[in-house]
Symmetry: C2
Subunit: 379 residues, 2 copies
């Protein structure tokens, strides 16, 4: 292999694929980045078996030079040191040449590195996905949808299926659901897809979703998504992101969302959030992180918490509207803060069914999002 490549493009590609490099060294070749040069350009690949990322650098793009391939071929280079070298090289052009002993010369300006590579034939093949179930979504929307739900996945391996984000698609409506069985986050959006395309129970590991968020750009350029039985592939510009899916059946969460409500409180999202954050300064000193909320006869809402030894806090919130029964309820402050931070609408409606039943938070300006939280029994 012998190539000349533009430094910033290589540096970007390396930093993208590096996110998939395994930190464990049980499979030594996966601590490397695979570099393949052919007539189309350069392809970099990294994988930790769960997530694989592939980035292409075309020969030319929008009249801008990317790479010149003097001799096709491939090599695997140690990821950490290669990525540091690329970042520190002095000139805009980088010459990379691998010989038959796998020794790889990396030249730029007056600097020359000589690095021992690994055999690319030993690098595992990425899955070849049949492109049957394909749909498309703006990259920034996909990013937002993940951010607004993924915090709700379980971190416990007791029920592994709950450590994933459940994706489903029906009649053009994409839905993400996360739950750790104490709270649930759901977000839907309309996407571009063939009319008959639908799937359920596609459970993407939470960790993969978090990596995907880092890779996607903050713009509307489309991400094309391919779903198979055990893999998902997200294609955005020159980046291919593969993740394995979790095996098992995701629980049916539709039935736990209460339909009616006994008390409804409409409140400014930010004021509510700040009030809970203040209360949590004390509640989190205790193990259960419990905050209490009580409706007052004057139409206000009182939020309190206390920490033995340290002290207590009382906050009074003026809701926009309140309907139904009076309410005394306790909940985990962290779940409430996570949900309120994920809501980008300025106003929410909270619907309660008494102190023992799950309650629901919804933005008042759209129906695409829902957060459900189980109360803590203190009353």
């Amino acid at each position: 292999m012998k190539i000349t490549v533009q430094r910033d493009k290589l540096s970007n590609a390396v930093s993208h694929v590096s996110k998939a490099v395994s930190s464990r060294t049980t499979i030594p070749i996966l601590t490397g980045i695979k570099i393949k040069a052919d007539e189309e350009g350069l392809t970099l690949t990294a994988s930790d078996s769960d997530v694989s990322i592939e980035v292409q650098i075309p020969l030319e793009e929008a009249d801008e030079w990317g790479v010149t391939v003097h001799q096709a071929g491939n090599i695997v280079l140690p990821a950490r040191i290669f990525s540091e070298i690329v970042r520190k090289l002095p000139s805009n052009e980088i010459h990379i040449e691998a010989d038959e002993r796998l020794v790889t010369s990396i030249r730029s300006g007056q600097a020359e590195f000589s690095i021992n590579g690994m055999d690319a034939n030993e690098y595992p093949q990425l899955p070849h996905l049949e492109e049957e179930k394909v749909f498309s979504i703006p990259g920034d929307l996909l990013k937002t949808m993940i951010r607004q739900t993924v915090f709700g996945v379980s971190t416990s391996e007791m029920r592994p299926i709950l450590t994933g984000l459940m994706w489903s698609l029906e009649q053009g409506k994409l839905r993400f659901v996360a739950t750790d069985s104490h709270r649930l986050a759901s977000r839907t959006a309309m996407v571009e897809c063939p009319e008959e395309l639908s799937f359920h129970n596609v459970v993407v590991p939470g960790k993969s979703c978090n990596e995907l968020v880092k890779i996607l750009d903050e713009d509307q350029s489309p991400a094309d998504i391919v779903v198979t039985d055990n893999q998902i592939l997200v294609k955005s510009k020159h980046i291919l992101f593969y993740s394995r899916l979790l095996e098992g059946t995701y629980p049916d969460t539709t039935r736990i969302i209460p339909q009616g409500s006994k008390t409804e409180i409409t409140v400014n999202t930010k004021e509510f959030l700040q009030s809970i954050e203040r209360a949590s300064l004390l509640s989190r000193e205790g193990k259960s992180n419990v905050v209490k909320m009580v409706t007052l006869p004057d139409g206000n809402v009182e939020i309190t918490s206390n920490a033995p030894e340290i002290g207590k806090v009382t906050d009074v919130l003026q809701p926009k509207a309140m309907e139904g029964e009076e309410l005394k309820i306790s909940f985990n402050a962290k779940y409430m803060i996570d949900a309120l931070r994920a809501i980008d609408s300025s106003e929410i409606k909270a619907s309660f069914n008494g102190p023992m039943s799950p309650f629901v938070l919804r933005p008042t300006d759209h129906d695409w999002m829902l957060h459900l939280i189980l109360p803590v029994r203190t009353y």
Copy 2:
């Protein structure tokens, strides 16, 4: 104690003094911040026995309201929770009231905290310093001088005196010296002081110096410095910073700085730094972090390093000037990088006395700074 205080001023003061709060809880009262209200305003104090910081909030300053003291008094509040509360309070005015049982109410807007305080009479007294040896230096210069030397203090407790930065003053010339016996950093500057004022062997713990850097503003407002036998006090605006001094005699470092030189190389600081940084990508994989430097017959300088298993690197540097004998020398890349990063001049002169002797780096545009490094014997 009963006061009303402006939130941002209190928040700033708390964040400054918090830097001195002890994380160890061997002396429980030092996990708190002492708050004293009197006719002059509010004084906040925190201390970890080595470093103490005091910040004053005057009643009024430049026509801007700071604090109103309704009833003088004092209290000690738990530092971490108090600082978090202050940051999260909703309104510009904060009411603080401590009762005789030390229970302290903190009110702002609709939020009210009630926190258990500690008895301020149990808080240790800060040393009272005789203001005999006082000099003055612009705050940003003091900050720069510390940053350009403090990295050189020893981190080993083998010779505790070397873990400090040595301050001396003679004929208006303030000098900072740091050494860990493998390298030395020195920085001098002229300061405003009484003609007869001089001191030596004032050794300020490196950790204290690093804290002091965080406290000082990036402007020329003067820092007044009081030096006593076992304490140093730095006063800047409303902040008083106390540090204990290290006991013992700092070694005489003047004699180890070589006078003549056999090889002199003048080079662009940034190019030299980047070249060493590239070489260190490989050298630091080894234990000794050694980089080799060799003068070439064509007047250039070759910098090389290698890491067994991984590979090697060669870099060629074009110096501005080179005089004297040819040179082959090896040194620790970290020491060189630390020194070059501390030099804010665009060009340096490096003076060598053969491969076994310490060498010196100096900016070419002024005489206020010097870095000395001991080579590693590989040739």
